[in-house]
């Protein structure tokens, strides 16, 4: 009983405590406040690999439409830093593109007009 009471009171207190630290956080540098500080910084979207996020999403070398997002206009393989794909899936994509190139599904190069 005592335990439960203590827990509930802590729960009630915590939202208020959190908001106060949140307001103070830009000045202070407490170890527990750091994650709230993070929220105040300009928000940068972290790219998440689509293939890791969606289970069952496969990379198929026969599907030209699916490979298109990972090619530049000139037909080069898009770097990972732009597509945001993880290393493992980038490897799979690059092999798939190379296989598709052999079968003339995807071009090696696109010569500009």
């Amino acid at each position: 009983m005592d335990n439960r009471g203590a827990r509930s009171s802590a729960d009630q207190r915590s939202p208020g405590a959190r908001s106060s630290t949140d307001q103070r956080s830009p000045g202070g540098r407490g170890s527990t406040d750091q994650r709230f500080q993070g929220g105040r910084k300009p928000f940068i979207r972290k790219k998440v690999c689509r293939f890791c996020k969606t289970k069952g999403l496969t990379i198929d070398y026969k599907d030209a439409k699916a490979l298109r997002p990972y090619l530049t206009e000139r037909g080069r393989i898009l770097p990972r830093r732009i597509s945001g794909v993880c290393a493992k899936h980038q490897r799979m994509i690059s092999t798939a593109i190379k296989q598709a190139r052999n079968l003339a599904i995807v071009p090696f190069t696109v010569v500009s007009m």
Binding site: K47, R50, F51, T54, G56, L57, T58, I59, D60, Y61, K62, D63, A64, K65, A66, R68, P69, L71, T72, E73, L78, I82, S83, G84, Q99, R101, N102, L103, A104, I105, V106, P107, F108
Partner: protein
């Protein structure tokens, strides 16, 4: 040891209909000749090539999924290589039949480079 194989083959589009059919039946027969079996035969039909092969801009594609030993796969490769009407073929081993898996094309990526690609 039996393995899954996937062979994609491009035949000259200007070859006759019976020539194309002949190559496909010969390919399936080769696989099944010595105990292998065809899981799936997918004919894409006439398709534009991404770049010209042997001065041709079109090709007749078909995909053959089969389970066999490596000898049959090699034999199929030999037959396709010797055929003059076959522009190109590619065999990939150990392909798991992922027919039901959703395709990557359904959801578009959000990066700017691809947007530029689509617009330009």
């Amino acid at each position: 040891m039996e393995k899954m194989y996937e062979t994609v083959c491009i035949i000259r589009a200007d070859a006759g209909e019976d020539v194309i059919k002949g190559i496909i039946t010969k390919a399936t027969a080769t696989v099944e000749a010595n105990g292998g079996h065809v899981v799936k035969l997918d004919e894409w039909g006439r398709r534009r090539l991404a770049y010209p092969i042997a001065k041709k801009h079109e090709g007749y594609y078909f995909v053959l999924n089969y389970k066999s030993r490596s000898e049959q796969s090699k034999e199929l490769g030999r037959i396709l290589r010797l055929n003059e009407d076959v522009l190109r073929y590619q065999t990939i081993a150990g392909v798991v039949g992922a027919e039901e898996a959703p395709k990557a094309e359904d959801s578009a990526t959000k990066n700017e480079a691809t947007k530029g690609d689509q617009n330009g």
